[in-house]
């Protein structure tokens, strides 16, 4: 073996080590959180922590149920807005838009993805919250006196505001994944359908979406996961008051990530408080890892099948 081969072998080994590190990073993060969260798990049941909404750190009660529900509530609102918005946008870009429009759309999506979450929060406070407070809430809540519209929160800082901001934040990831998936649908499929006299929308609905739906589902899962982990923007606009069960889109919501961020500075004050917060992080970790594994798993499989 000459010096060149030796260099090559060293490079291969050290790069392999880096790869090993990256592959184990997720386990490390999960394990680190678990290790620090153990104290709060001792003597309590998983179910009790996950489903109880009793959160009184000073009394040693650490039920995460309210926050988990809060997360689902805000995320669900975000998805109700973001899924149709992203799907329609992605369909427009892949099926209808001209080349030029498509080229213009890329920087728009990239910049949307790149803007700081805190800046989204600023925008939410300046635009979305007042809109909810001055228009949406008075208009809807006074007319529709039932779930999920009835509310007596007049501040505008609400699950809806959080959901709207989150929706805009997850649009980039969903649009780009969906568009990429739609792009992989072979043009022959469209041509075959159009040749049969179908309209463009019929082709899109019956041929393109039929072929691309697993990828679209994956994109939605990824968007959901991203939305449920977003922290700062939600913290700034969702009001963050604890409630057991969501009653209205106009009520404040307190999602899991906001809880973690909010206790910064005080969590060393009460015994087990820090462990409970890290447990919340662990729950969030497990949730997002699961969703991402499923979402990317679907996409990687599709890619493999396409060859």
């Amino acid at each position: 073996m000459d010096i060149r081969q030796i260099k090559d072998a060293i490079a291969r080994r050290s790069m392999g080590l880096v790869a090993l590190g990256v592959m184990s990073a997720a386990f490390l993060v999960g394990f680190g959180l678990y290790w620090r969260a153990r104290p709060v798990l001792a003597g309590r049941r998983w179910t009790e922590i996950l489903f109880s909404a009793a959160w009184h750190p000073a009394r040693g009660e650490f039920g995460l149920g309210g926050f988990i529900l809060g997360s689902f509530w805000v995320t669900a609102i975000a998805m109700v807005i973001a899924v149709p918005l992203s799907l329609l946008t992605a369909l427009y870009l892949s099926e209808y838009a001209s080349r030029r429009t498509r080229e213009w759309s890329r920087p728009v999506v990239d910049v949307l993805a790149g803007i700081s979450p805190v800046v989204y929060g600023v925008w939410g406070m300046l635009v979305v919250v007042p809109l909810v407070r001055d228009y949406a809430m008075p208009f809807l809540s006074s007319r529709l006196k039932f779930f999920p519209f009835a509310s007596d929160n007049f501040t505008g800082f609400s699950a809806l505001a959080g959901g709207v901001v989150l929706a805009v934040m997850v649009v980039p990831i969903m649009v780009s994944v969906m568009e990429e998936i739609l792009r992989t649908v072979p043009p022959e499929i469209r041509e075959a359908s159009l040749a049969l006299g179908a309209t463009r929308w019929q082709t899109t609905k019956k041929a393109v979406l039929k072929k691309a739906w697993p990828g679209v589902v994956a994109a939605i899962i990824l968007g959901f996961s991203r939305a449920s982990g977003e922290t700062m923007a939600v913290l700034m606009v969702a009001g963050c008051a604890l409630q057991a069960v969501p009653k209205s889109i106009f009520d404040p919501a307190y999602p899991l990530p906001a809880l973690i961020a909010n206790t910064y500075g005080e969590m060393m004050s009460v015994p087990l408080y820090d462990a409970a917060i890290l447990l919340a992080a662990l729950v969030l970790f497990l949730l997002t890892v699961l969703f991402n594994a499923v979402g990317w798993g679907i996409l990687l499989r599709l890619e493999k099948r396409e060859g």
Binding site: L33, L93, S116, V122, M125, G229, T288, V289, L300
Partner: protein
């Protein structure tokens, strides 16, 4: 019947246009809001002074601490992520076959890491700090943000490598190159602008994140001077200033948001220019 399907076509075309318009419009609205609000509070002092006494109740000074802190932390984290991402993507694309099982698992791991929220990275950084007895510091913040942006950087670099024609690899090997030589002397040159763009994108993402530095870097009014002291960052400066009840202080939060957005915009324009530009040496 036939009429109905043309009406349906019209409706959905309209909906799609509206959706695309809303997405583009929301970006415009966000930028407009930040620019209009931010410019008013922007001043020389804002950019070049650190917070003076009573800053958070309306006293003088600026956010130089956060600007400097964010740049230092962002650069450090980017460098760190580069040190991991570059060998990783070379390993993936030069040493491994595209379809190998190991390559699949590495890509899958990157995808999963990419999806972990930054607050979780922050919390993890915190557990490590507590275990090692460290305090919130520039070092801890840099490491945490570095970890956060590794998957972002590595995944976009991986995309760049996909664009390198396989024949170029073959041409290098046909001359008797080892893989290492092919990687460093041929592939790296070909992919360079794209890799630089990936680095910039990761930097932009790292500098904008707040949740990961909240526990790990903390905040300070001083300029960054030591790896082992807390450091201020722009996102947290925005967050804290908007959290005060004083309009003057909130105004400065808007200015900070403008500064941060301008940095992110500059970075993404630069990245775009780089990806557009094919290398001097390629067609």
């Amino acid at each position: 019947m036939t009429q109905a399907r043309f009406i349906e076509e019209k409706i959905f075309r309209g909906l799609m246009l509206a959706a695309a318009g809303m997405v583009a419009g929301s970006l415009g609205l966000i930028l407009a809001t930040v620019f209009v609000k931010g410019f008013r509070a922007l001043s020389f002092d804002m950019l070049f002074k650190t917070p003076q006494g009573g800053y958070y109740i309306g006293g003088g000074g600026g956010i130089a601490n956060a600007i400097a802190g964010s740049l230092v932390l962002g650069l450090g984290a980017t460098l760190l992520a580069l040190l991991v991402s570059l060998p990783l993507v070379f390993y993936l694309n030069v040493y491994l076959r595209r379809r190998s099982r190991l390559a699949f698992f590495i890509r899958f791991s990157l995808d999963v890491l990419w999806g972990i929220p930054s607050i979780v990275y922050g919390a993890f950084g915190f557990t490590v700090m507590v275990t090692l007895g460290l305090k919130a510091s520039l070092l801890a913040g840099t490491l945490t943000v570095g970890l956060l942006i590794i998957p972002i950087m590595a995944r976009s670099m991986d995309e760049v490598f996909k664009m390198v024609p396989p024949e170029l690899h073959e041409a290098a090997y046909a001359l008797g190159s080892t893989r290492w030589e092919a990687a460093m002397k041929v592939i790296l040159r070909q992919a360079f602008p794209g890799l630089a763009a990936a680095v910039l994108i990761a930097f932009g993402r790292g500098i904008g994140d707040a949740a990961s530095v909240l526990f790990t870097a903390s905040f300070t009014d001083a300029l960054p001077t030591s790896l082992f002291r807390p450091v201020a960052t722009l996102p947290l400066a925005i967050f804290f200033q908007l959290g005060t009840p004083f309009p003057e202080v909130q105004e400065r939060g808007y200015a900070a948001a403008l500064v941060l957005t301008l940095i992110v915009l500059a970075v993404s324009v630069l990245a775009r220019a780089l990806t557009r530009r094919v290398t001097r040496h390629s067609r």
